[in-house]
Amino acid sequence: MEAVPNTLCRLRVNGDVHVCAVAPNTTLLEALRYGLGLTGSKQGCDKGDCGACTVVADGAARLACISFALAYHDGPEITTIEGVAKDGRLHPLQDALDLTGGAQCGFCTPGILMSAWALLERNTRPSRDEIARALSGNLCRCTGYTKIFEAVELAARMMRERGAVTAESRDR
């Protein structure tokens, strides 16, 4: 297997254009983590089973570990966990996951967050069932998902109300 980087790949990530050297078989996850230093997206299985590598492109959650980097050359804008907070402000999902204890070890969190982000971008009033479906490709081994569901519901409410997450709003 020849794995020497020999092609330049232009990726649009989190609003920036990056160029990095890749091999034809370099995955998008490898390019993000090792080419661009965006280590927030995680490798849990490297075969598309766990969802820890989830990023969002074209409004949909994608598994970066089974996508080729070159497939995104001059392609759609990619959003990773590092691009979710805007202008130094946390996204409500981030704040909510922190507040509800939805991140325990935190390793699945970037993937969970990106899947939930893609959901909330198209549906700000998801039911518990819709949330569970949207996250069904993201394995979490710590939480039993309960606190993650709470976080997504809380974030959705915050986005509807366009306010910040506070302990008071959680308890409402």
Partner: protein
């Protein structure tokens, strides 16, 4: 290196001394450990955020694989393709000749034996003469890239002589001559324990009903989402630094020094953020030794990241157990004697197996009173990946069997199973039949809460066919009472630095694996010194910077680290409050430090300042501010061989009620809800306690219905011992769609010795999930699931093999089945 002499005239103050041979107990604080230093709790018990939470939700938390060092090489391990084979030769010349390959090591480069338990050191980083399971490591290659290292692995030629493979418990015992592990004293027996307390036969004979049944608990594995990863750097000064996704930095430190032949003071272990462990990272693995050795050889940093497949073979998960229980009860509901025979499939090495074997019996003796108890446990070696400690180490399997037994006994004498448990509750401040001291005990409240929340009385034996509820209880340790290697030093140490900036830094060797122990440190310091959480920095699990804590296992962190931290924080609080009291002319007891403000409760308007100013006053008065705190548990346990194993300074208690809906046409069991009532002493942060309760119940649910760590028999094209499906697709862990609704009911018994009364929450709440589900299935469809997992084919087979519907109707109609002569249907 010899000990440096003490500078003349330097006497260590008595209060700083390490505990001596008589094991000092921690200092008694005037206000007691359970209460707040202020009129009310300001931080403890509140739904606070975790200290590392924001780093995790923004992708900034640095895990081992996120570390890249200049000139770093990548290494891969060559693994055995045979379950059991002698290594005839290894030829690495072709691999070494490849451009970009920097080093190859084999067993002879790291010959030292190691093992987490000092009495059973039976592992080598790379097998030297023999491989003992498919996946046992035999060589390691360091190269410029992961791809290149993998390619080079294929060029390492290993010549094997296959040996007969031992794949199950019965074969292991029947063929002692097929020796799996040469360190075993006798055949394939890894450990045998036989302990008896009271006259079991007499109490069973005096019972009104005796049930005897056999159970099978299938093996399962931890499956943290982060695979094991280590980065090693041997620097120019001869210092080895290893970053590893471990949960026991201290033990790893010791074993690295031993295997690599380095003095411990030339080794530094750093635990980065760990992406889940659950017991699966609580001992050293081949990757840490190999990365270190390859770095020493090449003079460059080396990283090893396990693939998901390797994580399944690294294992150290739940032991498969065959358990036979004979249990008696009197008509009034009194449990009498308990007789257990347990066979344990240990896999190829010892791991924590000595402890596992004891735990399989020692941790069953609460929350119920037993008149007499006997267990006989045998762990055997087999040619499979080694089992070890998975959340609820060694005691989840017997708990499953025993709680099913209780359900059967309750039916036999016609008593509601919650009521039977209530009648036999052990109570607080007492001893178990095997001599374990039990202090706080909130078990009865756990039963009450779960019963009420689930509307048990409306549902039990009253739901239509296909729906049912089940109950189970359990207890677990809050830390094991003794270190893995015998010594008289503290189990947990904390250093606390406080200065004029108004910021505190806590240093502790403890290991946050997501459960939140770093935050526990911060909460305690904030509570004691009146700081805001954001003004506290936690430096943890770095053997160069932090005092020793034994690590994240046996549910010890909150209790032991918390107590050490409380000790350190209260020492500094005394100095700060003393300096303020002196200045304000009041009693130190009248000083509050809370919410960033120091004040006198007598005259808060006049005597009030920021804690930062208060620290400056204290620093002016006492000099540079710092303190050390430590925890050492009191001497506990039964006075017999093995009597210290299972001894803990405090026990947690749990009761679950589960509601299921079963599809009788497919055998599919749908767990709809689990009510989890758990006595954690005091919830230092209810959010993280609930997180542990929900995560535990989820993991038990997963073992009950989904997970099996199975290995294939020999077939065309391969020998025995291949993992059945070493991927997260084939080894099914529950997704967000599979997981039931989980409701946490926190019970606070306020333990007299825990920090603010806290006990464990990380492992106890797993135990009742499995038997409560089994008992609920019986209530729903009339079949007893005595073998895990309760998968559709198995449940369907049970439905077809028995007249389940008739059994279900009998149990409804009679409410009880009198068992003539005490014979059981098993």
């Amino acid at each position: 290196m010899s000990e440096s002499p003490k500078p003349p005239g330097m006497e260590i103050p008595a209060d700083r001394m390490m505990p001596g041979a008589d094991r000092l107990t921690p200092p008694a604080w005037p206000s007691g450990r359970a209460s707040s230093p202020n009129p009310e709790f300001r931080v403890i018990g509140k739904r606070n955020r975790k200290v590392e939470g924001l780093a995790k939700v923004t992708g900034r938390a640095v895990y081992a694989d996120d570390i890249t060092l200049p000139r770093m090489l990548h290494a891969k391990l060559k693994r055995s393709i045979h379950a059991h084979a002698r290594i005839r030769s290894i030829d690495a010349s072709e691999a070494l000749a490849m451009p970009g390959v920097h080093a190859v090591i084999t067993g002879k480069d790291l010959p030292a034996y190691y093992g987490i338990i000092p009495w059973t050191e039976d592992e080598q980083a790379l097998c030297e003469t023999k491989t003992r399971y498919v996946g046992d490591a035999v060589a390691a290659v360091a190269a410029d890239s992961e791809y290149l290292a993998e390619e080079a692995l294929n060029k390492v030629r290993v010549e094997y002589e296959p040996l007969p493979a031992v794949m199950d418990i019965d074969t292991a015992l029947a063929h002692p001559e097929w020796k799996v592990n040469e360190k075993a004293r006798e055949g394939n027996v890894s450990k045998h324990v036989h302990l008896e307390f009271g006259d079991v036969e007499a109490t069973l004979a005096a019972s009104d009903a005796v049930i005897e049944c056999e159970y099978w608990y299938e093996g399962s594995t931890h499956t943290p989402i982060e695979p094991h990863c280590a980065v090693a750097e041997f620097d120019a000064t001869g210092l080895l630094t290893v970053w590893s996704s471990t949960q026991v930095a201290h033990y790893l430190h010791r074993d690295l020094a031993k295997v690599l032949g380095l003095p411990t003071q030339r080794v530094r272990v750093i635990q980065p953020v760990v992406g889940g462990a659950f017991g699966g990272k609580s001992e050293p693995f081949s990757l840490e030794f190999c990365a270190a050795k390859l770095s020493m050889i090449t003079g460059r940093p080396v990283k090893i990241l396990y693939t998901r497949e390797e994580v399944f073979y690294a294992h150290r998960g739940r032991h498969p157990m065959r358990l036979r229980y004979r249990t008696g009860v009197r008509r009034d509901g009194t449990l009498t004697g308990v007789d257990a025979r347990i066979a344990i499939d240990g896999g190829a090495y010892s791991s924590f197996g000595l402890v596992t074997t004891y735990y399989s019996g020692q941790l069953l003796t609460a929350p119920y009173r037993m008149q007499a108890y006997r267990f006989d446990s045998t762990r055997v070696f087999t040619n499979k990946p080694c089992c070890g400690p998975k959340r609820g180490h060694g005691s989840v399997q017997p708990r499953f069997a025993f709680e099913c037994q209780i359900d059967k006994l309750a039916e036999a004498i016609g008593i509601d199973p919650i009521e039977l448990r209530r009648r036999n509750a052990l109570g607080e401040h007492t001893r178990t039949v095997n001599g374990m001291r039990v202090t706080s005990n909130g078990f009865l409240e756990c039963l009450d809460r779960a019963e009420r929340a689930s509307e048990w009385k409306r549902k039990f034996r009253r739901l239509p066919y296909g729906r049912g509820v089940g109950v189970a209880g359990s207890m677990y340790i809050s830390g094991t009472n003794y270190c893995i290697y015998p010594n008289e030093m503290p189990q947990s140490g904390v250093q606390l630095k406080l200065d004029r900036s108004g910021r505190a830094t806590v240093f502790c060797g403890c290991s946050d694996i997501g459960q939140g122990v770093d935050s526990v440190l911060a909460y305690i310091v904030a509570e004691e010194l009146g700081l805001e959480l954001r003004d506290i920095r936690v430096v943890a699990a770095d053997t160069d910077l932090t005092p020793v804590d034994l690590g994240s296992y046996s549910s010890r962190e909150t209790f032991m680290v918390g107590n050490a931290c409380l000790d350190a924080a209260r020492k500094l609080r005394l100095l700060v409050a003393g300096a303020l009291a002196e200045r304000w002319g009041c009693d130190p007891g009248a000083i509050t430090l809370a919410g960033g403000v120091a004040a006198s409760t007598r005259e808060p308007e006049r005597h009030c300042m920021s804690v930062k100013e208060a620290f400056q006053i204290a620093e002016s008065r006492h000099g540079t501010l710092g303190s050390v705190g430590w925890y050492q548990s009191p001497k506990l346990g039964g006075d017999y061989r093995g009597g210290t194993i299972g001894a803990s300074p405090a026990y947690s208690f749990t009761a679950h009620v589960v509601e299921v809906a079963c599809d009788v046409d497919t055998g599919r069991v749908n767990v709809e809800k689990i009510w989890i009532a758990h006595d954690c002493g005091r919830a230092l942060n209810p959010v993280t306690v609930e997180g542990q309760m929900e995560g535990s119940a989820y993991m038990g649910f997963a073992e009950a219905l989904f997970e099996e760590q199975l290995f294939k028999p020999a077939a065309a094209g391969h020998g025995p011992g291949l993992h059945h499906g070493p991927s997260l697709l084939d080894y099914r862990i529950p997704t967000s769609l599979d997981t039931p609704e989980l409701e946490s009911l926190i019970v606070e018994s306020v333990d007299p010795e825990g920090p603010y009364g806290a006990k464990e929450a990380g492992e106890g709440p797993l135990h009742p999930s499995v038997p409560a589900i089994a008992n609920a299935i019986y209530d729903a469809i009339g079949v007893r699931c005595d073998r895990l997992p309760f998968s559709p084919p198995r449940v369907l087979a049970l439905l077809r093999a028995t007249d389940a519907r008739a059994q279900w109707e009998r149990s409804r109609a009679q409410g009880a089945i009198a068992l003539a002569g005490g014979a059981s249907p098993c």
